[in-house]
């Protein structure tokens, strides 16, 4: 939930933090000990593509004292240039340790069951996905058993051009979820069972979903096995003869010994979409089209890493993924990836990688094609002092009807551990890209060039100042397995962050 604040009151509260007055006065005593983890930040951005100029601020206070911890975040910060928001108490919460075994959490909280296929109610600010709940959670540790029970609500309040990972619309009531989990620890074998009951309304229509999940893991050195299965039981759609129910399976096996690991993963998803969960994708996070197809997909992946001691710090990674639709078999994705990482000498290091993808390329309007990339990085001492990082990527896109190439070069000069200069240049012959879905009024880009430069300064261990000037390309950005499509940005962005 979001609670508006009077802007003048907020500015008055922020002034002492801006001037740093509390820090030196209280650092050795109350503030440093009890408010560790708090931060304040500001961002000024001026985007000429959307003609949006914004000043955003955030204050997050975290408090700890013995068995109680609490936090509150007041902000109007949104990661995308076109999003405007009013200053709100956006998040709040507390945790109280009842005794050695039980604790209770109230307010906004994150909760993950298993691999997140049944419940991944977290906030990922980098891509503005917020599936957290506001309510109450109780957790207990009973030796070999751990129990969790929760109730919470979630509502995305309407904002100008606001896009959330949860698909609610203005006027719909808040989603309401409740559920629980039992986890059993038998040493090398762990078992888990979860259930969630979700009452939601989408576009004025009620949508109730009952989720049941079972998972098991087994550690038998040097192997680790994991399996998770989920049932999604939904209300029947009016007038539909097909079941609205869904199913998900995730399995993995890992073999690991010093210097070598091999993991195999398998997944199968049929109508496994749920706004408060994330189906683990077998695609790598840095692949442009990396999200799992929760509605219709099955496949497997092998991921091998070699770094034996005799290689003196060199390592090799080989990956192959093979995915296809269950009902739509032509919906395929095949990926081969190889990366060599080498500390060339103690001062120099580098990587070389090759990435090949064949399948349904959504950025070509959903037709089959290939996507090949060659990447290299190099790190070493800079002649004028400090160190540098150089990265380059050459990419070839081809389908039956068209082909394009792209080039990206980035250079960072770490003048000192506290000061970095950087620049990025990117070119592409890809046709004009459509605006992100659901975002009206965002003009498209012309194909061509994107150039940007940045300065990063860390004046002290708790402060970070960033200045970025130029144009950044729109496209997919992935963070921790969650991806979203970002609109392009052209202009100036200044950010100040201070841990209190």
């Amino acid at each position: 939930m979001r609670y508006p604040l009077n802007p003048l009151l907020v500015q008055a509260l922020l002034v002492p933090f801006i001037l740093g007055l509390p820090a030196p006065a209280l650092a050795d005593s109350v503030f440093d000990r009890y408010f560790s983890g708090s931060h304040i930040s500001f961002e000024l951005s001026d985007d000429t593509i959307t003609d949006t100029s914004k000043f955003e601020a955030e204050l997050e206070l975290r408090y700890r004292f013995e068995d109680i911890s609490a936090f509150v975040r007041a902000t109007n910060d949104r990661p995308f240039a076109y999003q405007r928001d009013q200053f709100n108490v956006e998040k709040w919460g507390f945790n109280y340790q009842l005794n050695d075994d039980w604790d209770v959490t109230g307010g906004d909280f994150s909760l993950v069951f298993g691999r997140g296929t049944a419940l991944n109610a977290i906030e990922t600010r980098d891509v503005d996905r917020d599936a957290q709940l506001e309510g109450l959670m109780v957790a207990g540790d009973l030796g070999a058993a751990a129990v969790t029970a929760f109730w919470g609500q979630h509502k995305s309040d309407g904002m100008e051009y606001y896009v959330s990972g949860v698909n609610t619309t203005d006027g719909d009531p808040a989603d309401e979820l409740m559920g629980g989990r039992l986890a059993l620890d038998f040493g090398d074998i762990d078992l888990g069972a979860s259930w969630i009951d979700a009452d939601m309304v989408r576009f004025g229509e009620p949508l109730s979903t009952a989720v049941t999940e079972l998972d098991a893991s087994w550690r038998i050195d040097p192997f680790r096995l994991y399996y998770e299965t989920v049932w999604f039981n939904r209300d029947e759609l009016e007038g539909s003869e097909e079941s609205a129910d869904g199913r998900a399976h995730v399995a993995e096996i890992i073999y690991a010994e010093p210097g070598f690991s091999l993991s195999g993963s398998w997944a199968r998803y049929q109508d496994a979409h749920f706004d408060y969960a994330t189906a683990p994708s077998l695609r790598r996070p840095d692949v442009e089209d990396s999200a799992a197809r929760e509605n219709d997909e099955t496949g497997w992946r092998l991921d091998c890493r070699l770094s034996p001691q005799s290689w003196d710090g060199n390592s090799l990674r080989l990956l192959y993924a093979d995915l296809e639709g269950i009902e739509l078999e032509e919906q395929e994705f095949r990926n081969f990836f190889a990366e060599w990482a080498s500390p060339v000498t103690e001062e120099w290091s580098g990587t070389l990688s090759y990435d090949w993808i064949k399948g349904l390329l959504l950025y070509y309007g959903g037709i089959n094609g290939t996507d090949e990339s060659f990447r290299a990085t190099l790190d070493g001492p800079f002649p004028f002092g400090g160190t540098f990082h150089l990265s380059g990527r050459f990419r070839l896109l081809a389908s039956e009807f068209e082909s394009d190439d792209e080039l990206q070069i980035g250079f960072d000069w770490h003048v000192s551990p506290d000061f970095t200069l950087g620049c990025v240049r990117e070119t592409s012959t890809r046709p004009t890209e459509p605006p992100p879905p659901g975002i009206p009024g965002i003009p498209t880009e012309s194909p061509g060039r994107w150039n940007s430069a940045f300065i990063r300064w860390l004046p002290d261990p708790w402060t970070q100042v960033d200045l970025m000037i130029g144009s950044q390309r729109g496209g997919f950005q992935c963070s921790g397995g969650t991806c979203a499509q970002l609109p392009p940005f052209k202009g100036v962005r200044f950010t100040y962050y201070r841990a209190l």
Partner: protein, 187 residues
């Protein structure tokens, strides 16, 4: 708007940087528990055990907490250097605690990456970013240096080649000196 923009940038660049120098206290186990009260967690370690803050932050003289994710390239570049640093200072009570903040979706990649390297760290999985949020960490990698009583001594955001030298400097500043014996002094 633009003139206000430039004025605001100038204001923040002139702000005094405040940092507090602190002595490095030593502590008994009771004192360690007292400082970490309220900052509680129970997370799965790489070997499958569930560890609490009392399990992790005990018995050391200086702790370096690092936040890592499998999709973060600088994070992975950093780890071999941390491994070298543990080899250099581990016998003096220096410990590294690695929090993997991969979310559930990339957890298998994270596990296979870390399991095959045999790093001399305590490695914990924090898919809900509980500890990351508790410490106000926005970008990764971020390394935070703690005294045995839980006082934050220093933090650094990001990794670039050469940053490991600054880590060594901070460790030397804050790690109790090695004890010398009478035999050593006699030479």
């Amino acid at each position: 708007m633009r003139s206000a923009f430039l004025l605001t940038i100038a204001l923040f660049l002139l702000l005094p940087a405040t940092s507090v120098a602190q002595d490095t206290p030593t502590a008994s186990d009771d004192e360690v528990a007292a400082v970490w009260d309220g900052f509680t967690f129970e997370l799965e370690a790489l070997d499958g055990d569930e560890l609490t803050e009392e399990d992790v932050f005990a018995g050391g003289e200086l702790y370096l907490v690092d936040f890592w994710a499998s999709w973060c390239r600088p994070c992975s570049q950093y780890l071999p250097h941390l491994e070298d640093i543990v080899d250099e200072y581990g016998d003096r009570g220096f410990k590294v605690v690695l929090f993997c903040v991969d979310e559930a979706g990339t957890m298998s990649t994270a596990r296979s990456t870390l399991a095959g390297e045999d790093y001399p760290f305590t490695i914990l999985f924090d898919p809900e970013s509980k500890v990351r949020n508790e410490l106000g960490v926005r970008m990764i990698p971020t390394t935070v240096l703690f005294s045995p009583t839980g006082e934050e001594l220093w933090r650094h955001v990001g990794y670039a080649s050469g940053d490991e030298d600054e880590v060594r400097e901070k460790i030397e500043e804050n790690l109790p000196a090695e004890e010398t014996t009478g035999d050593d002094e006699a030479g």
